[in-house]
């Protein structure tokens, strides 16, 4: 589903160097490593917010290299992202923030309403449907972002530090959500430094260190 072959990314410094790995369809895997190692960068490469300087990336059958400006939106519709910095719109309600992910598919308003309400129930935010993001706590905002990433039923779900703002109780709720989504067939890739998320799960964990993959283990 996701394949990296000798991928490198440089900014001022080398951030990622000769990264190769592949995540299979239906898998749920983790990427971990210290702050600033390149976890977010790696995810950005997957949904084409940034392009690799070397190597090849394939996502859900799309060759990132060969994507035209015009086709990037269509790739992104297959990739749901829980952004580390949320990217919620402050002038839109929780409902509209989540609905946006469906509106850009030009879905029918009635279907949108049904789907959004369902997913807000899943993340336990039904009671905040008409609230604005800046009126939510950090943990509540985190869950809105997860809802938005889920609602369009993407082929691939990327989550960047999805429990950074959550206490352990809420972290568990969110992790259970990811497992459920994964069980329905979505490939899930989670970037986190929170080791308790993957300890004793038996899922694959990719450890990044100093621009390279250090090891891959079962957590």
């Amino acid at each position: 589903m996701i394949q990296f072959i000798d991928v490198s990314k440089f900014y001022e410094d080398v951030v990622l160097k000769d990264i190769s790995f592949s995540i299979n369809k239906g898998e749920l895997a983790f990427i971990t490593g210290p702050s600033g190692v390149g976890k977010t960068t790696l995810l950005k490469l997957i949904y084409a917010e940034t392009i690799p300087d070397e190597g090849n990336i394939t996502v859900a059958g799309w060759e990132i290299r060969d994507l035209k400006q015009r086709t990037i939106p269509y790739l992104r519709r297959h990739v749901g992202v829980v952004f580390q910095d949320f990217r919620l719109l402050h002038n839109k309600t929780v409902f509209d923030n989540v609905a946006l992910a469906l509106r850009i598919h030009n879905m029918h308003p009635k279907e949108i309403k049904e789907d959004v309400n369902e997913v807000l129930k899943d993340v336990k935010l039904k009671h905040k449907t008409n609230a604005f993001p800046q009126h939510l706590s950090g943990g509540e905002q985190q869950r809105v972002v997860i809802a938005r990433a889920m609602v369009s039923r993407p082929t691939v779900l990327l989550a960047d530090e999805p429990t950074g703002n959550l206490d352990s109780a809420n972290s568990e709720i969110v992790m259970n959500l990811f497992k459920e989504i994964n069980a329905r067939g979505t490939t899930v890739l989670i970037a986190t430094h929170n080791e308790s998320l993957f300890h004793h799960t038996g899922r694959r964990v990719i450890y990044l260190k100093d621009t390279a993959i250090e090891r891959e283990v079962s957590g």
Binding site: R77, F83, R87, H90, L100, R103, H105, N106, R148
Partner: protein, 294 residues
Amino acid sequence: MRVLFYSIQSALKNLWAEKWINLLTAFSVGIGLLILSTFITVTFNMDSVLKRWARSFGIVVYLDDDISAEATDTVRELFKQDADVLEVNYISEDEALRELRLILGSEASILDDLERNPLPSSFELKLKRDLLIPSYVKKKAEEIEEMSGISQVQYGEKWLASLNTVTRIMKASSIFLGGAILIAIIFITYNTIKIFFYRRKEEIETLKLLGATKSFIRLPFLLEGLIIGIVGGTIGSLALFGIHSVLVAKGLDFIPSVRAIIVSIPDEIFLSVPVAGALMSFIGSFIAVGKIRY
């Protein structure tokens, strides 16, 4: 076609959310178009007034007092064969007197006491429009004066120079002022749409990351610009119509030429103004939205 539906919905919502700034934009566009269309109307009418004036420009060729009928015919034939000359009018002594009588009006009675007609006969020549250049006309007049049987050649020298200057200044200022106002109108919409664009910059970035197509992002802004332009144009058009109606109703017969400049207005302009507004504003919002890159 749900993209269009969402775009129109979004455009209308945004227009309404910022109704004051949008109204002010439309109003400014309207003012610009009002000034522009007034200016175009005046220029347009001025031009036809100038054309009329140019048509009335004649070289008066006074004939010798004692010229014979044959000599007069010879002169007439020469003028008629001249390619520069558009029209030749013979004014006999009697006609000249009759014209003077008209000019004098109520005081014409003083002519009753005359024993003989003191006025000479003359030809009035109209030159082709594009030959009405001061230097050319001067040369022509001198040539004619050399001919036999001619006592004097008269024409409005200063008048002709002014006609030329006015025409040239009008053309230059049409282009300058017209262009400047058009740029200003485009800019006003550009500015407003740019505000909206910046205000929603974060939203746009997020939309891109969520997989929105370019047209999904751009269409609402373009539609907003278009609507602002149409409303602005309509304001301008109505204002023009209002002002024009007032002027006509007041029956300005102060200076006939001024009246001609103000009063005659082509009907098409009332439709053209909103169309021009829509076009300019569309261009403005098009530039404001700019290129969208992923």
